[in-house]
């Protein structure tokens, strides 16, 4: 009882002396520092912070491992799928700067967060494209794949969204949506290496535009030199080709974006683990300093008490 009273007295003296963050820790004393009651600076707060930072570090390390393993799985699929649209580019040419009336911008993003800045770059580029291709009698609409781009584009471009698709889990090759378009620009993050992702725009033209281009000569004009088997006309072949091209490019875009997402998440989690490690070091220093200060204070009190008794 007397000890408790002494402890309470010590607390009342201690509170105005110490700085405010430590003050709250006086209330939550730990038993080792108490010793014989009186003033002692508690390291409880610092220790709690250290524990939570260490847990966070473990979690981010685990997330990095998970992202790395998912990346490995997706990467082979992505590299294989690149072969799907390369013949299209060889045959039809890639035409990013074709002037069209109605264009649709398909923005591919991720559903989950914690993946660094890739979603913001995709959204930024989509906005730029939108500005570039709007003017009199031209209209641009968005089709959004993924939650993250939806949240960002919702803020200012609400009127222009025509479709949004989320929860893309597996990688389907079934695209049965039909959006009317003249030119379709797909914005995604192309995967170059684990730390480098380039935001890319791929363009898919509708069959009418392709016909127009092929009349105009150039690469598309070579299409005439191919013989068309069967009883279909060139227009129909072009239409089928265009849809298939759209689905291939979209498939590849989604895969590449998934790769980039995992890679970005890996590097983001890696840097956050490193930051947590740094924070832990700094906290350890503070902890040791506080601990040594409290020991020194106790020693001083004991020694001055002892010398007061003698003298």
């Amino acid at each position: 009882m007397a000890m408790a009273a002494l402890r309470r007295e010590g607390r009342r003296f201690a509170t105005p002396l110490l700085s405010s963050p430590i003050r709250s820790s006086i209330i939550s004393h730990s038993h080792e520092e108490v010793a014989n009651g009186v003033r002692s600076i508690s390291t409880q707060v610092v220790r709690n912070r250290m524990k939570s930072v260490k847990n966070i570090q473990k979690i981010t390390k685990a997330m990095k491992m998970v992202a790395a393993s998912k990346l490995r799985a997706i990467q082979t699929r992505t590299e294989n799928s690149r072969g799907l649209w390369q013949p299209f580019t060889a045959l039809l040419g890639d035409a990013p700067s074709v002037d069209v009336k109605k264009s649709v911008i398909v923005t591919i993003s991720s559903d989950k967060g914690l993946c660094g800045g890739i979603n913001s770059t995709s959204v930024k580029i989509s906005r730029v494209l939108h500005k570039l291709s709007s003017g009199p009698e031209k209209e641009t609409k968005y089709v959004i794949l993924g939650e993250k781009a939806k949240a960002q584009l919702l803020r200012d471009s609400k009127q222009d969204i025509s479709l949004s698709i989320t929860e893309l889990q597996k990688n389907p090759l079934n695209y049965t949506q039909n959006v009317e378009f003249d030119a379709l620009k797909i914005v995604f993050n192309k995967f170059h290496s684990v730390v480098q992702f380039m935001p890319t725009v791929s363009t898919v033209l509708s069959p009418e535009i392709m016909e127009r281009e092929s009349e105009a000569g150039g690469k598309l004009g070579e299409l005439d030199s191919y013989e068309i088997e069967g009883a279909e006309t060139k227009g129909e072949v072009l239409q089928n080709l265009a849809e298939f091209q759209f689905s291939c490019i979209l498939f590849n875009g989604v895969l590449e974006n998934a790769c980039s997402e995992q890679g970005a998440r890996m590097s983001a989690m890696d840097s956050s683990s490193r930051n947590a490690g740094d924070m832990l070091d700094r906290l350890t220093l503070t902890y040791n300093r506080t601990r040594q200060a409290s020991i020194t204070t106790e020693l001083i009190e004991i020694i001055s008490g002892a010398s007061a008794l003698e003298g």
Binding site: K158, Q159, I161, S162, L163, S164, I165, T166, E167, L168, Q169, K170, P172, L173, N174, Y175, T176, Q177, N178, G230, A231, E232, T233, E236, Q239, N240, E243, F244, F246, S247
Partner: protein, 71 residues
Amino acid sequence: MASAGGAAPFWRAAGMTYITYTNICANLVRNCLKEPFKAEAMSREKVHFSLSKWVDGKPEKPTIRSEGSEH
């Protein structure tokens, strides 16, 4: 073969796109496989996403298209 000579193939007249047509054909081919290969092909067929059309800046109710293989 398309004996209609110049007219649109039957599926295009029915409103399907080329992609839906090829997907249905692919499903049929997958069903013809024998047992060990059939299972892995079926796993490739599954798709799951939730689609919602936007009208005037407001999303309509999302429809979840989760096509697994029912065969």
